[in-house]
Amino acid sequence: MTPLVVLLGAAGGLLLLPLPTLALGQSGLGRWLTYGGATAVCAAALGVALRSLLLGEICEASLPLGLPWIGARFRLDPLASAFLVVVDLGGAFASLYALGYGRHEPEPSRVLPFYTPFLAAMMLVVLAADAFSFLVAWELMSVASWALAMAHHREPRNTQAGYVYLLMANFGALALLLCFGLLAGPSGAYAFDAIKAHPPTSATAALALGLTILGAGSKAGLVPLHVWLPLAHPAAPSHVSALMSGVMTKVAVYAFVRIVFDLVGAPAPWWAVAVLILGGLTAVTGVLQALMQRDLKRLLAYSTVENIGIVFVGLGLALAFRAAAMPLAAGLALTAALLHVFNHSLFKSLLFFGSGAVQSGAGRRDMDQLGGLIGRMPQTALAFLAGSVAISALPPLNGFVSEWLTFQAILLSPKLDPWSLKLAVPAVGAMLALAAALAAACFVKAFGLTFLGRPRTQAAKTAREVDGFSRAAMLGLVVLCLAAGVLPGFVIDTLAPVTRALVGGRMPAQAGQSWLTIVPIAEARSSYNGLLVLVFVTLSAGLCALAIHELASRRVRRAPAWDCGAPDPSPMTQYTADSFAQPIRRVFGTYVFAARERVETPAPGDLAPARFEAVDRDLIWETLYAPIAGAVTFAAERLNRLQFLTIRAYLGLVFLALVTLLLVLALWG
């Protein structure tokens, strides 16, 4: 039995799991069966995928489904295995988390039947080896995640989110459909190896790239196609949000890599410019929007947009190096992007689990109503802190490693020739640096407002720590984040077959380096050792604490906060989400959000209250989406008249149409 058969079996099992769940009805057993079964199946599939990635296995299978002349083809190669590891790791942890978190679900019958098919669809997208199966699995993934995002459909915001998501998912699928149609050509060769055997002309390839950016980019959240993401991801239950943000966006990245790096053939340099600029813009816009949020889950969703931008910068660099025939550098850039895919799936799942824990522990996720949870929910706080450090790209956790590799790849790019790249790469590097710094600010805000300070509401004051399953899932991810941060060499070596297959180069083997250092090119050029940094920081902190313990006074007195001598007893006088972001809004917001602030202070002696008003506008929505929506409404209103004609008018219209068509035919022939 090949690993592919096992993986297909796992996906099939996940697809069929809703049937017994539905038979069990509303009892808690359905929850245990769904989440317990999904944990076990995903863990098993994870083992299989990891094994074939390490062994570099390639296997194929074909099922008598789908299009009659090609069947449903599936293929397991290093790229598919790598992304399956991401999918199954995220799936296993989300299911483990949901064993506890799912208890708080008010309507489990709206979540359970769609949950495992969603997981199965993501696995099938990665495994598919013909356009038809790929698109069917892709659409199943979209529909299942839409149903999950609509689980709490009674909240009015969620129905709007679901509508926008459905529209964008349809648009993306349509773009991918056209893309595959172009690549397959008139003969209908939809199998991936047939597409690869006949590389398209450069014009077709460029068109396919554009359609892939639209199709995969809209699912991944590339600006300006990201608008649905911060609406839909927070609407779902938290374990599903974690899957949508941490895993489904990665499946979209997989689609981009599979089409652009594998199917289309040799890239042109200007492709890289387009992808780089899109990635840089996505990173900066995403993190700036994240900083302005009050809702913890919306903040996390916008931060996903930022991280997708970082991944696409890595992919753009890999395209540039590949077009310039620099396989080693392309291997480095692609490794950086794939490592960030892996890392982001870990810490974004962790952070969404944390936000779910906050929601079930304190009953809300608006940061202005939280605060001080570090005392009531210590383990959740620790896990969220670790996730925040990791996503802010701070050593020694894993987020730093992938961003560091991306920077190292940028430093190789002056050797690229075209002028467009020479100008684009430093600009994108600056955007990436800006995004990294703003991400740290964003997560100081997220952690500080939610977990530190004094509780702002009674609910936050009486919050309770979450159950054991949720904590186990979060702490497990913390351990993985730390391990991937201090021992990144193993992950990098595991990714080597993927980059070699796609761009013909790989990073030097890291396992043989002394002290487990990672060395992207040569040691004299750059090296980083997360393990030693961790050891040094721990030792120095310990040494300092020891010295202070021996030398200094140990007396501690608890007293009210000093606060310059005038502490305010009301916890509402603490900094809020908006006041924390105000300096940054003032610096960047004028351009990005057309932010306006208005202060009204009454004249001295006047007892009217002072007013402060701040307005942010979503310029992307206003300039891009609102006109389209307006045009559609306009056209619909005009065409609406056709509904209310007399029978004679309809007959006349039919006759007119017939005559016109015949005329066209006559003139054509």
């Binding site: 605060g371 790209a393 740290a440 500080g448 004094r454 120095s540 030398l551 606060d563 006041s579």
Partner: protein, 320 residues
């Protein structure tokens, strides 16, 4: 020499930066006082301050969590490790390969992350002011610093500080526009990062203008001592960084004899003194700017650094 020498250099550097850091701040304060015709506190006053703070009891706010008590040690550790990896008197640091310049800056970023969190922990509004302003300043200063690193790394062909320093010592550097831009930008970033005038006033007690002081407002006793020491170390780190990249003369190369190291230490102390005098002169000459002028100041540094890197991207020769 060999391994023992490398260990000695690394250990010596860690002890040296810790020992000299308070003196550097003391010298800056002394020169500033003399410039306005005050007597000024003695050079060793920062040491006495630290010792006094350590003997005092800690007054902890009732709402403070464990993070508030742990943060000083983490901040100090991050800063000390970063300072230990910047070549001060010799390039042959044993562990210089474990973190390059980007990682050193990220370590300082981690220290700042915890400082900003500590500012928010007590739940008093001044801490919030400090943290939110600090992250705003950092959000422009950090990318500027990264672009400076890009410029240096493109010239020297490496992000390793010891390699950069050796390259700067070699004869094929020459005068370059990029280096001038990077130097000016680096000095501006250093001023902002160390909360010096005109970005922030280290001696201020006027609440509305505080940034750094507002974050550490609730700290007292030994915790405050550790945070102060980390602040001294950070100033020393930036001076060492500018010294090792732009005035690397006197740095002892790896494996050099003991005399070269002694010369290196003397040169380093001289550089520190010179930097202290220049910083004091600059701080006396300019006035503190309004908070929302700071982005323009740092934005200029960012633009200069980008320009420097861009020049290297478009110029043809000389890259490694």
């Amino acid at each position: 020499m060999g391994l023992i020498g490398a260990v000695a250099v690394q250990g010596g550097q860690m002890a040296l930066v810790l020992a000299l850091a308070p003196a550097l701040t003391g010298l800056v304060r002394k020169v500033k006082a003399r410039l306005v015709r005050r007597q000024g506190a003695p050079l060793l006053q920062p040491y006495r301050d630290l010792w006094r703070l350590m003997r005092k009891e800690v007054v902890l706010a009732e709402s403070a969590s464990w993070l508030f008590r742990a943060a000083p040690y983490l901040i100090f550790a991050g800063t000390w490790v970063a300072a230990a990896l910047v070549p001060t008197f010799a390039t042959g640091l044993m562990f210089s390969w474990s973190a390059d310049l980007i990682a050193i800056m990220a370590l300082l970023g981690a220290a700042r992350f915890f400082l900003a969190l500590a500012g928010m922990d007590v739940g008093a509004s001044f801490g919030g002011i400090g943290s939110s302003r600090e992250v705003m300043i950092a959000s422009i200063a950090e990318p500027a610093m990264l672009m400076i690193i890009f410029s240096l790394a493109l010239l020297a062909g490496s992000t390793q500080l010891s390699t950069v320093a050796s390259y700067m010592l070699s004869s094929n550097v020459g005068l370059r526009v990029t280096l001038a831009l990077a130097l000016v930008a680096l000095m501006m970033v250093a001023i902002a990062e160390n909360a010096r005038i005109p970005v922030d006033n280290p001696a201020t007690h006027l609440e509305l203008t505080m940034v750094h002081e507002a974050m550490v407002l609730e700290y007292s006793g030994r915790h405050l001592a550790v945070i102060e020491l980390a602040g001294f170390l950070k100033l020393l780190l930036y001076v060492s960084l500018i010294g090792c990249v732009f005035v690397p003369w006197g740095l002892a190369p790896a494996g050099a004899p003991v005399q070269a190291h002694l010369i290196g230490i003397a040169a380093y102390v001289g550089k520190l003194a010179l930097a202290a005098v220049l910083l004091a002169l600059f701080e006396t000459a300019v006035a503190k700017m309004r908070l929302f002028r700071v982005p323009a100041f740092l934005g200029a540094a960012f633009m200069m650094a980008i320009l420097g890197a861009l020049l290297l991207f478009v110029s043809r020769g000389g890259l490694r």
